[in-house]
């Protein structure tokens, strides 16, 4: 090994803690980047492969019922490449071990051959086959539901099909590209206990629902380079007479959209945060190296005097920085791969793929490593250049003493009460404004980073408590298989334990404002109900007007409309025509997008008299079990959502992912705070060793000298904390806005506890690192302070 390299290793050893601090900060940024980029790659690759292999459709449509002959007409639409038709029906399930009824979406398997599109992937067992005679009908179950209930091929489940309870034998466990995100329609998070997807032979399903010879679900693929809009319109026109409930492309497919939203969030996280960490690391490399070069001034002069070239000397110090970068890259890669693996496991709760393998994004890793190296080199370049440009004779002499001036604020009256230690601290900050500002900024960023995950946690708590206690006050929502006359409400009111029942009418509609179009379920509710309430941003309950529509604020944003603007409603079922209504108000909600109208107004729109599709109920706690038994025995019920089950599912799934995020951010922020303070204290100690040793010789105690050393850092930390709270607030706002999608939104909730936690972590990390650095005061060379400089 060349002797210069040996010197490098020994110098590094003496700087090991500082080098480690820098490498760790760099590693945080790299880990975050590798984690998010790799997750994006893993999800995209898994999705694309799955879509291709299992032929995920591009266009989807639902309708009431059309004869199978319409299939040929669909295939004849210009641009349509493949057509698959079938049945998709919502049924109520009776699952052993589950008190409340669960909801199942039953999909049909073709009578002959395998499905052409949206092919199920068989995880275990076999696909169900049509049975004749008295044999038990067969059924395949989606993996998420099967896992939630521990179902295996050979088990049986009961379902109510068209009012008749029937027993099924489970033959297999299945996944489908249509249900990567397996959640009830409109739900932001899966609820695998009470909602599942199933596959049954066409014949049995069709027979049970008296739909044999027809279909109610369409999937299409398009020929290359075909405009989707034209096909959507043609399919809509064709299916309208058959009770068409709307045609949509992949961008409106609930599962695909949820996945796309997730990728968008990852993309937002993969850039901003790593950049922050890498910038902080570059600054730290710069300060460490600038100090190192200043300390080794005489050595550099000696090397040059002995005939080493500027390039050799420069390369020596650049290597110094590169070793630190290498350490950061190794740690960051390991951390990124570890975290990526953890998140992939977590994604299994939300997204079901035949195989979601963690794929490290190597090009991103390369880019990140190169960016770190460049940042570090940029940090070192200035210091090295100054060193190599000095003529050796001059470099042999010690650097001129630092010159100070009083800071401007010392002219203020208050400055008279400042002690010498405070003056030293203030003047040191004043003398190095850029370095002080960057240290302060880095600490502020560390504080800000801590605020983010807790803001997300508090936002979720807010959604849980506010949305589900203030907005939705029902115990359970029951849905009818088909709309019925409003008098059915009386039947619900007579179920045991029911305290209050309020009806709703839900109908798929298309909302249009100029070129902006969205399809969703329009909710018809009582004008001022006391169960499922429409709440604005204040929050106050809104009264649904006789004329006009209230929609989610997010939907208004998507449609570019404001209250007072006209909106065109086009019902996607029944005989009704388009209706233009004013936008009457905005609702503040957090999951999915919704549109609300007064129940009577919806019925007038649909021209079908007083009808409802279900009801929101409050049930007395003491009679809950009796109620559920009665509910399971009510045949016209197609499904129900129990609020507390949804809430529990929400808590279990998001709590885990937010918990992991929170730990990650807290660790990273603590590392940055610790690294920055430790590094600053060590550099300060090194620069002022003689000054501090002099103070010790003059009779200052270790504690007093420690106070002089950390005084500057305490001032910087104190000014960084309020700035950090500001940074964190903006950061949380930016991230909440970025992750705010049409499927999931979070309110920006910032609590005092959150701010206090961030301040406490940064202050503790700072204090701890300052203490560690101040311990080095014991090692100051007191006798050396007496010696002359030359």
């Amino acid at each position: 090994m060349p002797l210069l390299d040996r010197k490098l290793l020994r110098d590094l050893r003496s700087l090991k803690t500082q080098a480690l601090a820098v490498a760790l900060v760099m590693a945080c940024g790299l880990a975050m980047m590798i984690t998010t980029r790799s997750l994006m790659l893993s999800l995209t690759a898994a999705r694309d492969g799955y879509y291709r292999e299992n032929r995920f459709a591009q266009v989807f449509a639902r309708l009431k019922r059309a004869p199978n002959a319409v299939r040929e007409q669909l295939a004849a639409i210009p641009g349509v490449a493949t057509v698959e038709t079938g049945l998709a029906l919502q049924v109520t399930l009776d699952v052993p071990g589950l008190a409340e009824p669960a909801t199942g979406l039953f999909n049909s398997l073709p009578e002959r051959g395998a499905p052409v599109l949206n092919r199920p992937y068989l995880r275990a067992g076999r696909l169900p086959e049509a049975q004749s005679g008295g044999a038990l009908a067969e059924l395949a179950v989606g993996e998420a539901f099967a896992e939630a209930h521990g179902l295996r091929p050979g088990d049986t489940v009961s379902a109510v099909l068209n009012g008749r309870k029937q027993k099924f034998l489970l033959t297999g466990i299945v996944l489908s590209p249509e249900f990567i995100f397996e959640a009830p329609p409109g739900a932001a998070l899966p609820d695998n206990k009470t909602y599942g997807v199933f596959w049954a032979p066409y014949k049995e399903l069709a027979t049970a629902f008296q739909l044999y010879g027809g279909f109610n679900s369409v999937a299409l693929t398009l020929a290359p380079d075909v405009a989707e809009e034209a096909v959507l319109a043609a399919v809509d026109r064709l299916l309208a007479p058959y009770g068409g409930r709307g045609t949509y492309g992949r961008n409106n497919h609930p599962s695909d959209r949820r996945l796309t939203d997730e990728l968008r969030v990852l993309k937002a996280l993969s850039f901003a945060f790593p950049l922050v960490f890498l910038s902080v690391a570059a600054f730290m490399v710069n300060s460490v190296m600038a100090r190192q070069v200043a300390l080794q001034r005489e050595q550099i002069a000696m090397l040059k005097a002995c005939g080493f070239s500027n390039a050799q000397v420069g390369a020596h110090y650049l290597k110094f920085a590169l070793v630190i970068v290498a350490g950061g890259v190794v740690l960051g890669t390991a951390g990124g791969l570890f975290l990526g693996g953890k998140f992939v496991d977590l994604y299994h709760i939300f997204f079901r793929f035949p195989a979601l393998r963690f794929q490290p994004d190597l090009p991103a890793l390369g880019t990140a490593a190169a960016a770190s190296a460049l940042a570090a080199l940029a940090g070192v370049a200035g210091a090295v250049q100054r060193a190599v440009q000095l003529p050796p004779a001059e470099a042999m002499r010690p650097e001129a003493p630092a010159s100070y001036r009083p800071a401007w604020f010392e002219r203020l009256r208050i400055a008279r009460w400042l002690g010498p230690s405070s003056r030293m601290a203030l003047r040191n900050i004043r003398r190095r404004p850029a370095r002080s500002a960057l240290t302060c900024l880095a600490l502020a960023l560390a504080t800000g980073i801590l605020i983010l995950p807790n803001a997300m946690r508090d936002g979720i708590a807010h959604v849980l408590d506010f949305q589900w206690d203030v907005v939705q006050r029902q115990t359970v929502t029951v849905m009818l298989a088909e709309p019925q006359a409003a008098r059915v409400l009386a039947d619900f009111q007579h179920l045991p334990g029911v305290v209050l029942a309020e009806p709703f009418r839900s109908v798929p509609v298309e909302l249009r404002s100029g070129p902006q179009v969205r399809r969703l379920a329009l909710q018809g509710l009582p004008a001022r109900g006391s169960l499922d309430r429409v709440i604005d941003g204040h929050p106050a309950q809104l009264t649904l007007p006789e004329r006009g529509l209230i929609i989610s604020a997010k939907l208004a944003e998507v449609l570019h409309v404001q209250p007072g603007d006209p909106l065109t409603i086009r019902p996607l079922e029944g005989e009704a025509r388009d209706l233009v209504v004013p936008l009457a108000g905005l609702a503040d909600d957090f999951a999915g997008v919704a549109a609300y109208m007064e129940l009577g107004a919806v019925n007038r729109l649909l021209l079908e008299g007083d009808r409802v599709n279900g009801a929101h109920l409050t049930v007395a706690a003491g009679e809950w079990d009796t109620f559920l038994r009665a509910l399971k025995a009510t045949p016209q019920i197609a499904g129900c959502y129990v609020k507390n089950s949804l809430r529990e599912g929400f808590r279990a799934t998001t709590a885990e992912s937010i918990g992991l995020l929170q730990k990650m951010y807290a660790t990273f922020a603590a590392i940055v705070a610790f690294g920055i303070i430790y590094n600053s204290a060590r550099i300060s100690l090194s620069e002022r060793a003689r000054e501090l040793a002099t103070l010790r010789v003059l009779g200052f105690t270790r504690r007093e000298v420690g106070a002089v050393l950390v005084g500057e850092l305490v001032l910087l930390t104190l000014s960084a904390l309020p700035l950090g709270l500001l940074v964190g607030t903006q950061l949380a706002r930016a991230i909440v806005t970025t992750v705010s999608t049409e499927t999931v939104r979070l309110p920006l909730v910032l609590t005092t506890a959150n701010y206090a936690f961030a301040v406490a972590v940064v202050a503790t990390a700072s204090a701890l690192s300052a203490w560690l650095a101040a311990r080095k005061i014991a090692g100051l060379d007191l006798a050396g302070a007496l010696k002359a400089l030359d």
């Binding site: 010498p420 030293m424 003047r427 002099t694 200052f700 006798a783 002359a788």
Partner: protein, 252 residues
């Protein structure tokens, strides 16, 4: 020529013959390192130093004079022998006690001044007057060294001689019993050196402070009450000046 017992143990002209010594040094040894790597810096020094004396320590570099000064100033502890300050065994004192000793009893003057660059002249002195028991005001201390007019200048705005006089003011503001000066004029030209030495001489005379000066410059010996020459960690020559010369009269 071995030193005479009388020169080592008796006060010079300034000291009254029967007072107790400030420092009582017996068989003082300091060895750095161990085994074959051991370096003996002091190899048995005997010395009594009295209040009001001005002592000059001469010797080549490596002779042990700085090590001796460090021992007297409570910066280091001896390997062997005893070192008593006012009867108190300094050689076995702990870190905290040594800090208190330096804080209240000793004033240091360094060759490189060692001023805090971020503090003005007045503040550099005030830094010390704030922590000791019975200080004079920073202004009075600076007046004593003739710097009453440059109170609010930062070190970088002062000449070398001025900086050293600030350092002396800082050392004497606490009214120390001992003033230890390590090559105080080493970094100065002759003219500035004289003003600095005059300041030391004046403090020694007016405040009765025991002053110990380390120097390479044998000419300074004439301003001392007693002069010790060190070599290889031992006192090889001790002499008492019958008549102490003033700094102005030295043969520059």
């Amino acid at each position: 020529m071995p030193p005479t017992a009388e020169a080592i143990h008796s006060p010079g002209s300034a000291g009254a013959p029967h007072r107790a010594p400030v420092f009582e040094v017996r068989g003082l040894a300091r060895v750095f390192g161990e085994g074959t790597a051991a370096v003996t810096a002091l190899a048995g020094v005997d010395l009594d130093l009295f209040a009001g004396e001005l002592i000059v320590l001469l010797g080549a570099s490596g002779s042990g004079k700085s090590t001796l000064l460090n021992q007297l100033g409570g910066l280091d502890s001896p390997t062997q022998g005893t070192l008593r300050y006012r009867g108190w065994n300094l050689g076995v004192a702990d870190e905290a006690a040594l800090t208190q000793f330096r804080r209240n009893a000793v004033g240091f003057v360094f060759q490189a001044y060692n001023l805090i660059p971020s503090l003005t002249a007045r503040e550099n002195v005030a830094l010390i007057t704030e922590i000791c028991r019975d200080p004079m005001t920073p202004e009075a201390a600076l007046d004593l060294v003739g710097l009453g007019a440059r109170l609010d200048h930062f070190p970088a705005q002062l000449s070398g001689g001025e900086q050293q006089r600030v350092a002396i003011a800082r050392a004497i503001a606490k009214r120390p019993e001992v003033l230890l000066c390590d090559e105080p004029t080493g970094a100065l030209d002759v003219k500035t050196g004289i003003t600095v030495l005059e300041a030391i001489e004046r403090i020694n005379g007016e405040l009765g402070t025991l002053a110990v000066i380390i120097t390479h410059n044998a000419i300074l010996a004439d301003m001392a009450d007693r002069v010790f020459t060190l070599s290889d960690g031992r006192i090889v020559n001790a002499r008492t000046n019958a008549h102490r010369g003033s700094v102005r009269d030295l043969a520059w």
